[in-house]
Each structure stands twice: as C-alpha cells, then as structure tokens.
Symmetry: C2
Subunit: 184 residues, 2 copies
C-alpha cells in the first residue's frame, strides 16, 4: 500500500450527504492504516475563516484556505477529507492543481443529490428558510452550484444508499493503490 | 528515533532571527529523517489570514490559526516550525495546550535579541519607520512583546552565532528523542 497523501474533495449541495459520507469514510480509512483528517465546512469556518461571509469572494477565500491546509497535510502523507459545498469549479481546480503540485492525489467526489432531492429531505430546515427569503445567497436556490464535469467519483446520494456510495469511493481509492484491500 | 510530531514555536521581536533560524533548522531536521513544514508569518498571512490587520484581536486570530494548522500537522507526525512574532503569552499557551492535547510536543524557542539589538541591525528598515511613526503598533516600539517566562529553549540571538543557537535547539530535540543524533 502506498503512503502517498491524498485529498478526497467532496462537493455538493447543502444536505447532499457530504459530511455523512466523510464521517463514515474516515474510520474505514483509519482501519486500513491511513492517518486521516476531516476538514469540514464548520471546523474551518471556526478555526480559519471566522469573519468571512457568504459573498462569492468570501466563499472563494474559505475554499482556498481549506485547499491550502488540505495540501499541507496531504503532502505529508495524510489522507484528508474535505466536506464543504465548494460550489465553483475554478476554485476546486485551483485546489486540485495545488495538491497535485505537492505530489499528492486529488480525488473529487460529487455528492450529486439534486436540489429537489435535498430540499425534499431538508434535514436542517435551511431550504425552507432560503425559499422564505430568510437566508440569502443559498447555494442551489439563489446562488449557483457548478457541477463538476469529470469528478473521479460521482455518488448518486439522492438515490443510492450510503453504503453504495462508500463502496464506490473505496473502490476508487483501492484502484489507485491509496488504501489496501479490505481484510475478508 | 520517535516519529512523534512536534511544533517548534519561535517567538521574538521583528529581526530577532526567527525566520533565519527556522530556514537553517528545516534542512537539518529533514536530513535526520523528519518531515518538516515551516509556517512563517508571511506564508500564513497570504494563505490563511488575508484581510487581518495588526490590532490585538487580529494578531491573536492570526496566531491562533497558525497554532491550529501546526497542531493538525504535528498530530500527524510532522515536525512543524513556526516563525511569527507571536507577542502574547496567553495565545502561545493556548497553542501549546492544543498541540499537547493532540499528543504532540510543543517546543517554545525564544529568539531573545533585545529591541536595542534588533533596532541596531534593522535589516528591513522597519524600526526606523516605526520610530518615525510611519508604522503604528510595531511590536517592541509601540506595541507590547511579552517575553516567555519559561521557554524550552532561549537563544541569545542578539549575541550568539546562528550556529550556536541551532546547536541549542538540536540538543534539546535530541534530548527529547525527537530527532536522532547527527552522523559523525
């Protein structure tokens, strides 16, 4: 098994399952011998980006900071999982270039539930607030989400089980030699 | 040799030799088999803290961010070197607690050149500007610097050679088992 670092970069709408998948994935990677860090949107907003808002510029800054820290970790052999909406392809591509430039592997994973699917669940009630105009600039409602045209993994999180999505990601990581096969 | 991560936290006035020592130390640690990352004030201001100023609150935020990233790296086995002025003991102590709470080692190194010594050299011309009032809130002139009361290593960077200071730091790291002995 390689000890090459990597960044699993989840992208997707609010409520699309990014954090759920990140939390489920981390212990599996640890069992397979990897050091793992999760950088989710909330951790980063607290520790690195307090004071930033939700304008395009502030969102971009936030996502670049996550990318900077993810790359620092990955180039030291860590398996990093990020779970921020990261709506813009340009910034995701910048982060990919930085990670790959550092000799680590960038794995873009699209949690591809649609607005309709996310809104139907609306676990945190955020879509209802966005529709009511109580939250402005909400991704997918009145702020854009740019789907990745060619992610390494596309999980149909609006349709498939969590287990199925996890298997897709683990299969990809195995195929790249980034984790060993599961013990059977 | 341990592969336990650590943070070498330089603190000292502008021009006290923190960055010089950090740059000299990094290749030696790499030769002795450690992964090393330097987080100096400029790198961090560009990538993590753009938009922050030099008020007490903004300085504290900047130093906390460095500490957060340093701890993330150190708990994954990296030898991290930080080289920001970090004038306040309270924030340095917070960062120590975070790093140690993550199971890594925190090594506070005071680059102890005095204001008079730093000002006499004034490599970047900043002290002259601060005296002329062109820079406000300059540490050691019109902003406080709190000396660490009990740093792991105190380097007399205003008097001693760079080599002597490096040896002090390397001796300390060897004594803690964080690096192996030099090949002779």
């Amino acid at each position: 098994m390689s000890s090459q670092g990597f960044v699993i970069w989840f992208t997707g709408l609010s409520g699309s399952g990014k954090s759920t998948l990140a939390e489920a994935l981390a212990p599996v990677l640890r069992e397979r011998g990897r050091n793992v860090e999760i950088l989710d949107g909330d951790i980063v907003r607290t520790n690195l980006s307090k004071g930033l808002g939700f304008s395009k510029e502030d969102r971009d800054t936030n996502i670049r900071r996550i990318g900077f820290v993810a790359s620092l970790l990955a180039r030291n052999g860590v398996g990093v999982i990020t779970a921020a909406i990261s709506p813009y392809q340009e910034i995701r591509d910048e982060n990919r270039a930085m990670t790959e430039g550092d000799g680590a592997v960038f794995v873009e994973v699209h949690a591809a539930a649609t607005v309709e699917q996310c809104e139907a669940r609306d676990v945190k009630g955020l879509y209802a607030k966005a529709r009511a105009g109580e939250i402005k600039g909400f991704t997918g409602i009145d702020d854009p989400y740019e789907e990745p045209p060619s992610p390494e993994v596309r999980c149909e999180t609006g349709l498939d089980s969590e287990e199925r999505s996890l298997d897709q990601i683990l299969d990809y990581l195995e195929s790249r030699g980034l984790i060993g096969k599961a013990q059977s």
